[in-house]
């Protein structure tokens, strides 16, 4: 199933080593396939993004995560969250953002999260070797979701 209109949002701090992994993915793919989606990169997810998300059929979020071993690429479908237990707008997750979008606009895109396992979050630029080695896989995951809308969960490595 094609993506319809799709937006890909990478987020993370490029000055905190592996947290900049999403930036590498977005910058690479936006150069490679500029018209495949709307490509966005930001330090964090913000409530204002709801106004952008409501215009799209599919949203893919890309981040670096400590939930997975370094270099492992995982993706999952994201269900919008109807309510939130967070009062902290400095930390917004994709499910809450999609829920916010739906509450405000009575619609929200189909959501996916591509996470790259990271381990080094020191104050420096550049991702660690293990994360660097997984960037191609992460990029391919994003392209697969754009093309097919299917979920391939966990890396084969």
């Amino acid at each position: 199933m094609s993506a319809g209109r799709a937006i890909v949002i990478g987020y993370g701090n490029p000055l905190r080593a592996d947290d900049g992994a999403a930036g590498e993915v977005i910058e690479g793919l936006s150069r490679l396939q500029p018209h495949a989606a709307e490509w966005r990169l930001n330090m964090q997810l913000l409530p204002e993004m709801a106004d952008d998300l409501q215009k799209y059929d599919r949203a893919i979020f890309v981040d670096c995560s400590v939930e997975f071993p370094p270099g492992i690429v995982n993706c999952k479908a994201v269900e919008r969250r109807a309510e939130t237990d967070t009062t902290f707008t400095h930390h917004l997750d994709p499910a809450t953002l999609l829920g916010l979008t739906h509450t405000l606009f009575a619609k929200s895109p189909e959501g996916f999260l591509v996470s790259i396992g990271g381990e080094d979050f020191a104050a420096r630029e550049g991702v660690s070797p293990q994360v660097k080695a997984s960037l191609s896989e992460a990029k391919q995951m994003v392209l697969d979701i754009l093309a097919k809308g299917e979920v391939a969960c966990t890396s084969t490595r």
Partner: protein, 474 residues
């Protein structure tokens, strides 16, 4: 009965802080303090860097108001170079500065303070946040999101990205404005204006519900400081500094911003990493003053744009009364958003805004430079010294929030005394103590730069609160 109440962390502000409230034996509030618990050190670690790096370095102080630091820093570098920026560059800097003001004020009002105003100061804390506003009044929440996006998108169109744009540089800006981007910005104006007018009307409709808060939220006589235009109107980029007293008398006028070290002093209190500026001729702490939207509307004689001017008439009234209650920072903030949108439109409609003459170039010609501009939260001052190679040898930053440090502490004490009577301490009372801080919209990450001879006051108390030992330094 507790002897000390601590609110840690203070919620719905930018940065990290705590509030301590001391109770006397009768349960009434004897003292209160606002503690900034962050330490940054920008003034120190920029030493040795080329002065041309300073705008980019200083922008990293903050993710909410990086443009303010870009502008003030670039102006300080302009002074070191000894250049006048081309008029179009000055106007482009004005636009990005005002766009940031819009998005920052929108964040403060809609995301941080509207939960209190819409849901009530005593409402369920679990709901008293942006998401509670979304549930209770989605239209209000959406207005805030769109207004914030308006400001952020202008910053992105001009600077290439929303946070830490690099486009403001010593001497001007790095690239001229394209026709396409100019037209895109103009197309956004009508919706932003409509939202702003709707928002100010909504805020005024809440005043009747908050009469007591208006009376007690940092409502005390103080001076007010800010930049004014040559005709005595609002000014956020250039102009001269003016200080007005609580009764409306002008204490000082036409102050050269570059001379600020001669009339603004700083001190450090032991309970906070936030420095405390004061007006030197009046000494410390009598030289307390407030800055920011409330101050800016108190010091001006008029507002130059029609819709903002109409609201200014309501704000100050026909007798131009000085507004002392910090609760009305909210109203002032929304009036400034109106002014910013109108001014951005006026500048964009001038054909000269598309000129490609946007940067003056030179090497360092002076060993010292000062740059002053109005940030969303108040007057921002950057002061640098360099060596013969153009490397920074010394830097001092006086941040908008720092100017308000003494006033915020006074406000916390005033509200605590009014709403905390002991032994029962309702949650709404503690929220009001936080809410008075929110009226100032402090940016604490920006404002903490005290380093060096740091005063320390340490008290060791036992479980019962009895003082066991006490040590002071500096």
């Amino acid at each position: 009965m507790p002897k000390q109440i601590m609110i840690d962390p203070v919620s719905r502000i930018e940065g990290h802080a705590k509030i301590t409230i001391e109770l006397a034996d009768d349960g009434n509030v004897s003292d209160a303090h606002f503690h900034i618990t962050q330490f940054r050190g920008f003034e120190k670690f920029c030493e040795g860097r080329p002065f041309t790096e300073m705008p980019s370095l200083m922008a990293r102080i903050c993710g909410i108001c990086p443009v303010s630091h870009l502008v003030a820093s670039a102006k300080a570098c302009d002074a070191i170079m000894g250049v006048n920026t081309p008029p179009t560059a000055a106007d482009l800097r004005r636009i990005i500065n005002l766009a940031q003001l819009v998005q920052s004020h929108a964040l403060s009002f809609f995301h941080l303070s509207s939960p209190d105003l819409l849901l009530g100061m005593d409402s369920d804390p679990a709901q008293r946040n942006l998401f509670g506003v979304v549930q209770a009044n989605p239209k209000l929440a959406l207005d805030g999101i769109k207004l914030r996006k308006f400001g952020q998108h202008i910053i992105e169109l001009l600077g290439g990205k929303r946070i830490h744009p690099a486009w403001v540089v010593p001497g001007g800006v790095s690239d001229p404005l394209t026709t396409e981007h100019r037209d895109e910005m103009l197309a956004m104006i009508p919706e932003a204006m409509e939202i702003s007018l709707r928002s100010v009307a909504w805020l005024k409709s809440t005043f009747a519900d908050y009469a007591e808060e208006i009376e007690t939220f940092a409502n005390f006589p103080s001076a007010f400081m800010g930049l004014v235009s040559p005709e005595g109107g609002l000014e956020h980029y250039d102009g001269k500094l003016r200080i007005v007293g609580a009764n409306g008398d002008i204490i000082a006028n036409g102050l050269e911003p570059n001379d600020f070290p001669n009339y603004i002093g700083e001190t450090v209190e032991p309970y906070s990493y936030l420095k405390s500026p004061y007006y030197k001729p009046l000494g410390y702490p009598d030289g307390i003053y407030r800055v920011g939207p409330l101050a800016r509307l108190n010091i001006v004689d008029m507002v130059q744009t029609p819709r903002a001017a109409a609201e200014f008439e309501v704000f100050r009234g026909p007798k131009r009364k000085i507004v002392l209650s910090s609760f009305h920072y909210h109203h002032a903030r929304l009036i400034e958003i109106l002014y910013a949108i109108e001014t951005i439109e006026a500048i964009l409609r001038d054909p000269e805004i598309l000129s490609d003459r946007v940067r003056a170039t030179a090497g360092p010609n002076f060993f010292e430079g000062i740059g002053v501009a109005e940030a969303p939260r108040g007057t921002l001052m950057h002061h640098y010294r360099i060596d013969k190679d153009g490397l920074i040898t010394w830097a001092n930053l006086i941040i908008a929030t720092g100017h308000n440090n003494l006033a915020m502490n006074k406000g916390v004490l005033q509200v605590a005394r009014r709403y905390i009577k002991g032994p029962e301490i309702p949650e709404g009372a503690l929220n009001r103590v936080e809410a008075v801080i929110r009226t100032f919209d402090p940016c604490l990450s920006c404002s903490t730069h005290a380093v060096g001879r740091m005063p320390l006051h340490i008290q060791v108390v036992n479980r019962a609160g009895k003082l066991l030992n006490e040590v002071s330094r500096n």
